[in-house]
Amino acid sequence: MFDSPERLLLGLFTGILFGILLQKGRVAKFSVIVGQFILRDWTVAKVMGTAIAVGSVGVYALVTSGHATLHIKPFLLGGVLLGGVCFGIGMAVYGYCPGTGVAACGEGKPDAMVGVLGMLTGALIFVATYPLLQPIISGLGNMGKMTLPEMTGTSPWLWIAGILGGGITLTALMCCRGTSASTDDPVIKDDIHTRSSV
């Protein structure tokens, strides 16, 4: 029922760092999350893309050197497709994802707090109806715990080099073009003013 106290503390410590990063990254804000989905503010894509590129190098280095193992989630077709649709619609209305919703509670947002209660309810519905959901989750097929390198018979480092190369090229292009958010939107302009104080 409980992990060891050391592991609980380690999780707490890791989480505090994660929370600080999400809050400083401004991704715990409705305007930034929805701004990404109306294609006006590219903060979410930048944060996620950079995290994936940087993360993949270290994690695969740890795995290759035998210091860690991969944790791949199975590709259950029905679960991933239907789950993705529910998740996307919910996130667009809520304006936060699960992690940034918790971080927005830390910022003091009442709607984020009510949404966290909603998330607990959604999780409860999932657990309570778990037996009924199985045909939907795995009914369309289970492609197993597969990675892109395994699927294509290539080296993971080829993919990581591609992600890094693509990421650095995109970053360079964006830096040359200046900031991406346009300023004719009062809501987003307001955000840029807050940001420029730093």
């Binding site: 409980f2 989905f37 590709f75 892109l148 987003i188």
Partner: protein
């Protein structure tokens, strides 16, 4: 030099690099990828079992999880979520970036300033989002960042599907230009 914690925001690149390095740390120290939504499922499963003890026998969820060695528990992933709250609280207090309005500006432009309406929508949307995350076994952290950085096929597909659904929903609800179209 100013204390970075008192700044209201850091560059998206710095934050992305930070989360990337944090994912190395999580894998190296706990052999766990960063993820948020499993802790919600475990909390709900433990709560349900506490209120209705018989459910442990009648709902095959508990037997299946036990067999897979992933029985619901208060573990590393649970205190991770608690830490995200504490970290964001500290960060926003140190920088004064507190945000206590129930109705976000973009929402108000489109749906008006009703607090009950916004809170009801946030509750229902939070429930739908978490239900979807558990159907797919992951969220923006577990699939979107941790899964993709491990080059998992399931995570790539989940990320593409949820982004597409969120973009279509947002453009329909808020419009391409947000406020200026409503």
């Amino acid at each position: 030099m100013t204390n970075p914690l008192t700044m209201k925001s850091w560059s998206a690149w710095i934050v992305g690099i930070g989360i990337g390095v944090l994912s190395w740390f999580a894998v190296a120290t706990a052999d766990k990828p960063l993820g948020i939504s499993t802790a919600f499922e475990h909390t709900a499963a433990l709560g349900l079992k506490a209120v209705i003890p018989a459910t442990e026998q009648t709902n095959e969820y508990y037997a299946e999880m036990s067999q897979a060695g992933t029985s619901p528990k208060i573990g590393w992933g649970w205190t991770l979520v608690l830490g995200v709250f504490v970290g964001a609280l500290l960060s926003s207090r140190l920088s004064g970036d507190r945000n206590t309005e129930a109705v976000p500006a973009l929402w108000r432009e489109r749906f008006g300033g009703s607090i009950p309406f916004r809170l009801t929508a946030a509750f229902l949307a939070g429930a739908l989002m978490m239900f979807g995350a558990r159907l797919a076994s992951g969220c923006t952290s577990g699939h979107g960042i941790s899964g993709n950085l491990q080059l998992a096929v399931s995570s790539l597909v989940f990320t593409a599907v949820f982004f597409a659904a969120a973009i279509i929903t947002s453009l329909t609800l808020y419009g391409r230009k947000g406020s200026s179209h409503v």
